[in-house]
């Protein structure tokens, strides 16, 4: 069997090295040439009692989401892992500690919970680790060695990744972890493989492309760097912090500047300032931070200043659930703020999309002189995928509409009304480009004006210039997948939920349901015509999203007047493929009955 689709869950307590083990696993598998999607769940607390879960899906074919049922569960702490046993499919494996030190009360050991159809592998993780390293700290690495032996995972890749992970520490640390891995590998030789989990050879990568594995936030950083980001201002907030952390390392190398400000209001103010000065400028935050930024965002719209705001959504409102995923800031991103403050809002659906949208956001901001919001979510920000990048830079370095040579004495009209509603843009220091900028409504020169006629014309300008964004090059603002022409059920999805939607669509097709899925990347301005065309082909439309209100469904039905079926979930976890599929089946069946 050549095709591989293997999903492993590692579950433990904060401090067990659960996330680290998942990280090594996914990197090693990616290095060996497999496609990887991975997502970690971790507690808001730093250490000691919270549950950590690392899920890694390893495939040879392209997939778009994690599976609901995993093939292997590794427990580093039964008190947390027991509740995940049901996620393992029949004839999959459950690996657990079978020589714990502490006395356990009845039912607190994994053996009481492994389902009869699953295969238990009790492993003395701690003892194996202590024998190999004189410490039990690397139990998480022992289980990786065990997995490697049981399923034929690439040992050399693991050795490399482990060495790489600990290269900044004393050499003894890396050596000790390699010993732990090898000890786990050796321990597995005493086990007869009884599950039916298999690993085929890796897939091949096309020449002329680089395969890398990164998170959504990592891809955002790479997109920013490749697009020539010049300035970044930010204030830490989960799950956006890693964008700033990575940029803080990388931007100085490229001669760019990053500043951690005292709060989110300062961050957006400085970003708008830098954008005004001509720098490709960005900030990154989450829902609570965006709530603080929307006032200044209005200034960016009114003053027509290019800037980019990355927003990684988490459970809300208020502080909400900082380490859980949600898609409930669509309304805030699209409508937040005072007045008619339309801006561009993009929502990538996968890690590669994060890269592309991040870079394209600078082009769009510059070209249409407006703030651009990139809506991510925790699931997408933290999810790892193997991504194949072209070796060529795909981003335009300068998309600004230049000011033509001014006649002597001619006043520069920063907000000139043009055919495409985009004004030539001068930045401070440009000869002859002196102008006024204000948050007040203004005339073409930028001087304050509260005339009703001017406000009407300028409002139209600020809105209509964005129509051009719908045709911006090399960016899928909206894309249909699956069956062409009339279908029984169409799935309309955005952000990270699209991956699950696509898998559900393919599963529905396999069941004989005519089904299509459309991803909506540009949420503002909304590609109404494309969506309307899609809806016209669908007898039923399902909109799955991770918010309570059905914010995309509201947005689309509000503009198109078409009733839509909603699948709204706010569990803090990604949408399940099976949940979507179940709804698709029900809708298809309903249509058939009708």
């Amino acid at each position: 069997m050549d095709s591989t689709d293997l999903q492993i869950i590692i579950c433990g307590s904060a401090g067990d090295g659960t996330i680290a083990a998942g990280d090594i696993l996914k990197r090693a598998m990616a290095r060996a040439g497999y496609k990887v999607i991975a997502f970690d769940l971790y507690p808001a607390e730093i250490r000691g009692f919270g549950k950590c879960v690392a899920r890694v899906r390893v495939t040879t074919e392209q997939v778009y989401s994690l599976k609901r049922r995993s093939d292997v569960l590794v427990s580093l702490d039964d008190s947390h892992a027991i509740e995940h046993v049901g996620e393992v499919r029949d004839f999959g494996a459950v690996i657990f500690e079978n020589a714990p030190i502490a006395r356990l009360r009845e039912g607190r050991h994994m053996s009481a919970h492994v389902k009869p159809g699953q295969v238990p592998y009790g492993l003395a993780q701690r003892e194996v680790c202590e024998r190999a390293t004189s410490s039990s700290r690397s139990r998480n690495i022992v289980v990786l060695g065990f997995l490697a032996r049981m399923y034929g995972l690439p040992v050399a890749a693991f050795h490399e990744i482990i060495a790489d992970k600990f290269k900044t520490k004393a050499p003894v640390v890396g050596e000790s972890n390699i010993r732990a891995f090898d000890a786990g590998f050796e321990a597995a030789t005493a086990y007869f493989k009884l599950d039916d989990v298999t690993l085929g050879p890796p897939s091949h990568v096309a020449e002329g492309a680089d395969t890398v594995m990164m998170t959504g936030n990592g891809a955002v950083v790479q997109g920013c760097l490749d697009a020539g980001i010049g300035s970044f201002f930010g204030y830490p907030i989960t799950p956006a912090t890693t964008i700033m952390e990575r940029l803080a390392v990388e931007m100085p190398k490229a001669g760019a500047r990053l500043l951690q400000t005292e709060d989110e209001i300062s961050a957006i103010a400085a970003t708008i300032g830098a954008g005004y000065a001509g720098s490709r400028a960005a900030t990154a935050t989450s829902g609570p931070g965006l709530a603080l930024m929307v006032e200044m965002l209005g200034l960016g719209v009114m003053a027509e200043v290019p800037c980019v705001i990355f927003v990684s959504q988490r459970g809300g409102p208020s502080t909400g659930m900082p380490t859980k995923t949600e898609q409930s800031d669509l309304n805030l991103a699209v409508f937040g703020g005072a007045g008619d403050a339309q801006r561009i809002v993009l929502a990538p659906t996968n890690v590669e999309g994060c890269y592309r949208c991040a870079g394209k956001a600078f082009e769009l901001a510059e070209k249409f002189q407006t703030p651009v919001v990139i809506l991510l979510d925790l699931y997408l920000s933290n999810r790892y995928e193997t991504v194949i990048f072209s070796k060529d830079n795909i981003f335009e370095p300068n998309c600004s509409k230049a000011v033509e040579k001014q006649d002597p004495g001619q006043a520069y009209q920063r907000f000139q009304l043009t055919d495409d509603f985009v004004s030539p843009r001068a930045v401070p220091g440009d000869v002859g480009g002196m102008h006024t900028v204000t948050g007040l409504e203004h005339n073409e020169l930028g001087r304050p004006s509260d005339s009703g006629e001017m406000h009407t014309r300028m409002s139209a300008k600020r809105h209509r210039k964005l129509e051009g964004a719908l045709a911006h090059g090399d960016l899928n603002i909206c894309k249909r997948f699956g069956d062409e022409g009339p279908v029984d059920v169409g799935i309309l999805a955005w952000g990270s939920t699209f991956g699950e939607s696509l898998e559900a669509m393919m599963a529905a097709q396999a069941e004989g349901i005519r089904c299509s899925a459309m991803k909506v990347v540009m949420l503002s301005p909304l590609p109404v015509d494309l969506i309307a065309g899609f809806l016209a082909d669908c007898k039923e439309v399902l909109v799955p999203e991770l918010n309570y209100e059905g914010q995309l469904a509201n947005l689309v039905s509000g503009q198109l007047g078409r009733p839509l079926s909603r699948l709204s979930r706010v569990t803090g976890a990604p949408m399940q493929v099976e949940e979507i599929l179940e709804q698709v089946r029900a809708l298809a069946k309903g249509r058939a009955a009708a």
Binding site: N98, P100, L194
Partner: protein, 343 residues
């Protein structure tokens, strides 16, 4: 029966599984926990030779599908070793440091293959045949048409030998005191049965005492047996079949009487009123013989599981051995045993 009585069955072989069936039948509300060191649910050990007939997916030898346990509300704990049973407190302890309570327990752990002391030095050069895993290991080690050397040749081994011969492998039997175990064969009858084995195609090696087992030289089969008379026998796999030793180590501090197996009265109760035993692990009092004795074979073991479960739920029935226990040569000249008879 009090609602929610917790019955624990240690061992999920033929006796344990039958006990679970009867317990559920007689006490629908009780809680049943089955414990095994195996990683697999209950499979018929008598089906293990089928590995050589192409049945190499353990799912095909399960007696019940995995869903059976959920349907019967049985908690199945696999890969779990019991280290102590405390009949006074009504608790048992696992090697993984967990303690669970019980109202009644029946020990059905059977026996493990016995290895005579003079063979223990060569344990690493031999293969057992007690589990699916060990059967698969032997299958993987054996080349096509390869030879298995059986030391002893108890009835479990001879059952395997029949399958091996029928599937194109070769078998050499090194006769010792355990040949034909558990049957006691009189000296004057021995030759008759060995001849029957030879008619099956088994090469019988009798006489000289085994001196040692060693790895075969390069280019030869993987194992070489050297006998005191200097003769050598080569084989790809060496398998000891010298009977069973009751698996009772974990019961040593339980306070119940143990001789070789757990001593039980005819109702299969041990000397602790909360603990019963069934199958190859127990020695049952025989008033007729004025001694404790073992009863072997699928039918007896299954009946013991049933009797123990009935008595755990209020009956006081004695165990009665089922059928003739003697080895015989049938009309076609083949050796046969009630030990091999099973559903």
């Amino acid at each position: 029966m009090a609602k929610g009585t917790h019955h624990v069955i240690i061992g999920i072989g033929i006796a344990g599984n039958r006990a679970a069936e009867i317990l559920r039948e007689r006490d629908p509300d009780c809680r049943i926990t089955m414990i095994t060191m195996s990683r697999l649910p209950f499979y018929n050990r008598y089906d293990l030779p089928k590995v050589f007939r192409g049945v190499r997916d353990w799912r095909e030898i399960l007696v019940d599908p995995p869903a059976h346990y959920d349907k019967s509300h049985i908690t199945l704990r696999r890969d779990s070793r019991v280290t102590n049973v405390d009949g006074q407190r009504g608790t048992l302890t696992f090697a993984h440091n967990e303690e669970i309570g019980f109202d009644r327990v029946v020990v059905c752990t059977g026996g493990s293959g016995y290895l005579p002391e003079d063979l223990t030095d060569y344990r690493h050069l031999m293969n057992g045949f007690a589990t699916f895993e060990s059967a698969m290991t032997v299958y993987e080690l054996l080349p096509e048409g390869g030879r298995v050397v059986m030391l002893g040749g108890d009835m479990i081994g001879l059952d395997l030998a029949r399958t091996l011969l029928e599937t194109g492998y070769r078998v050499t039997l090194v006769v010792n005191d355990y040949t034909f175990w558990p049957h006691r064969v009189a000296a004057d009858q021995r030759g008759k049965y060995l001849e029957a084995l030879e008619r099956l195609g088994i090469e019988v090696h009798e006489g000289a005492k085994l001196e040692r087992v060693k790895e075969g030289p390069k280019g030869m089969p993987a194992r070489c047996l050297v006998f005191e008379d200097g003769s050598e026998v080569f084989g790809d796999v060496v398998m000891p079949f010298c009977g069973l030793v009751p698996s009772v180590e974990f019961m040593l501090s339980s306070g119940v009487d143990i001789e070789r197996g757990l001593l039980v009265n005819p109702q299969l109760r041990t000397t602790n009123e909360r603990i019963w035993a069934a199958g190859d692990v127990c020695q049952i009092w025989s008033a007729e013989e004025n001694a404790y004795r073992f009863y072997y074979g699928w039918n007896n073991v299954r009946a013991m599981g049933e009797v123990a479960a009935r008595n755990m739920t209020g009956e006081e029935e004695p165990f009665v051995s089922i059928g003739d226990e003697d080895l015989y040569v049938d009309k076609s000249g083949h050796i046969n045993s009630p030990f091999w008879q099973h559903d």
